[in-house]
Symmetry: C2
Subunit: 377 residues, 2 copies
């Protein structure tokens, strides 16, 4: 919660549910990451929050962009980003999307399989490509390791094939998982990349870029290491494995740049103990739920922090659910949330650090609830 | 897949992903349910698919409507439904929503807690209310039992309190869970409702309505009982427990009316074995995923059936995933899907029985992918 958001909510009292993002905070975080990793090029993971105001601010700061789809590439271009600052980072791309990206001038493409490489070679001939390796995602609250990335052995085959196909075998990438709280995860991943780098050098392919992915965490309900700790761990590991002849480093922060720049304002719709007894669990139903923005509460993975008008009163364990008729629209049940026992319907509460992976994740009209209103200030 | 949808897809070749719904099929299913339960009033669960074309057709058929939100109530009214045919079936309602519903003329409200009852009494004084009881959801692929419903004991307290508050304690309801494939679930639930009916009669409250909820299944990959089997089980259980003086029966079908009226047309974006070995699992990535409409594949709960242009070729086990960069955007992995081994990117495949809980469940722009295009024919 930044002072600007606090003031906006107090003065405007916007209808709930809504998301308020302080774009100045995004700039602060951008500079903090730059300071922590001065040699790295920052590619903002647009999927975290593709709002025009955020993209435009990042363009003025000199950021590059990691796009998951042709839709995101178009948004970046519309916000003023030049195509040579955009990476098409999804390893799963439609042929039509590759073609359009190429026409727009995008020259950097991720892949992790032979079929994808051949698609890129056919529709963006000669482009720079980088191969995504699977690495451990331990320590991440939102792991990504099953769906993406190949082995070191097959990565070697793929990069050799890229050269044969007339592509520029430019780099290697990995992702340690989102909301990664362990700096050692990066160190282990860099060691793997370095092994393949050495293998490829022997085969005459000089890797010029290492894409370290994103995953840098923000504070929700638990403290996380400072960004400087990640910067230090990464820099040391890169030097240890690559020596003084460092490849270009890319990072793809999403959550880190926008997560704590946003706050959701929501209303308590109902507080009930449905069995009628004080010993029954207390349910608090909000006017936002898993299908209206809080998608990352699936499996209770991301644990948001709450601010209520009754903070300071005695607290009790609470099950938190969304407003829909859907039985899976429950945010926190296994690990209950401590909230004031005085809370009642009509109370307005804030969900902190909701700037990332909330706005575009809400449904178009699940149970008749419209998408979240957004304010960028 | 109806012949009309088949023809539409062949002739129009609409861009993927898209949903095509045969509205005539909705009417067929409406009549089948009416035949199976001739005494029941049908309240369509709008959340299953709130498309204007569906609502309008159901209005002409004489259907009533079960709404989850004020947004859905507005849609029903806009489609020509009169307010006395609308039930506000969500037990969790904003005060502002109750007020607006009341102003529109809605006179039937669900509740399952004291706080909600008091809200309804304050903002829709004198309205008909019905109390939702928690019942077993065994046999349902998409259970709803944790989040809603109260006990028989507390239901009694609540209904007595409703009378004290000047409300009309009109009925009782339950929900056996969505995609319920066991007719016995309804029989057990009716027995519970009948117990409370008897208790309340002794206290001078005559229940005039029993809302049997929805849950009637459609065929995905496994056969399900015919609707007549559910009609028979329900009718017999009602007669057994209520004798000849039957209360009015309401049913709230959603999936049953629209599920198999819709087909999603999607494109294979990538087929890959990321380790490069034939022994590696085969992944098929589609241009639709969990966040672009297939929300009910969460936990692999609803198992859709696929039709491919290569049906008849040898099949192999396949992991199916969506097009986004999100690691949880995987539809089927634990129980793999048998699909032709010849499948490749660019192939166009159909996902059958996707008329329910798909269209409005897709995100506004997850990973830059726009919402599903919809066609009602």
């Amino acid at each position: 919660m930044t002072p600007k958001i606090d003031r906006f909510l107090a003065e405007q009292q916007p209808a709930t549910p809504c998301l308020v993002v302080d774009v100045d905070r995004v700039a602060e975080r951008y500079h903090a990451l730059q300071d922590a990793l001065p040699l790295a090029h920052i590619y903002y993971a647009v999927k975290a929050n593709p709002a025009r105001a955020i993209l435009e601010r990042l363009v003025t700061l000199g950021s590059c962009f990691d796009a998951a789809s042709i839709g995101e590439i178009r948004m970046c271009v519309a916000a003023g980003a030049s195509a040579d600052r955009i990476s098409f980072g999804n390893t799963v791309k439609k042929v039509s999307a590759i073609r359009e990206a190429r026409e727009l001038g995008v020259d950097l493409y991720a892949f992790d399989s032979m079929e994808e490489l051949e698609k890129i070679a056919a529709h963006a001939p000669g482009a720079r490509v980088y191969c995504r390796l699977a690495v451990e995602n331990q320590g991440a609250d939102w792991p990504l390791s099953r769906k993406f990335g190949t082995t070191i052995e097959h990565g070697r085959v793929l990069m050799l094939r890229a050269r044969e196909l007339g592509m520029d075998p430019y780099g290697l990438s990995f992702h340690v998982g989102s909301q990664q709280t362990d700096t050692a995860a990066y160190e282990a991943a860099i060691a793997r990349v370095a092994m393949l780098h050495t293998d490829l050098a022997r085969a005459g392919i000089e890797i010029r870029m290492v894409n370290l992915g994103g995953g840098f965490p923000v504070r929700y309900t638990s403290d996380v290491p400072e960004i400087d700790a990640f910067g230090m761990a990464i820099s040391q590991a890169m030097t240890r494995h690559f020596g003084n002849d460092l490849p270009l480093m890319l990072v793809e922060p999403g959550r880190f740049l926008v997560g704590d720049a946003g706050v959701v304002s929501t209303e308590v719709v109902l507080v009930s103990r449905r069995g009628g007894k004080q010993s029954d669990p207390r349910w608090v139903y909000l006017d936002i739920g898993r299908f209206s923005g809080l998608a990352e509460t699936e499996g209770e993975a991301i644990r948001y922090d709450f601010r209520t008008p009754r903070d300071g009163d005695a607290c009790g364990p609470t099950i938190m659910a969304g407003p829909s008729c859907d039985g899976v629209d429950i945010m926190y049940e296994k690990r209950r949330v401590g909230l004031p026992v005085t809370l009642e319907s009509g109370d307005r509460i804030e969900i902190l650090s909701t700037g990332a992976y909330v706005s575009t994740y809400c449904s178009t009209g699940f149970n008749g609830f419209p998408p979240l209103t957004e304010y960028y200030i």
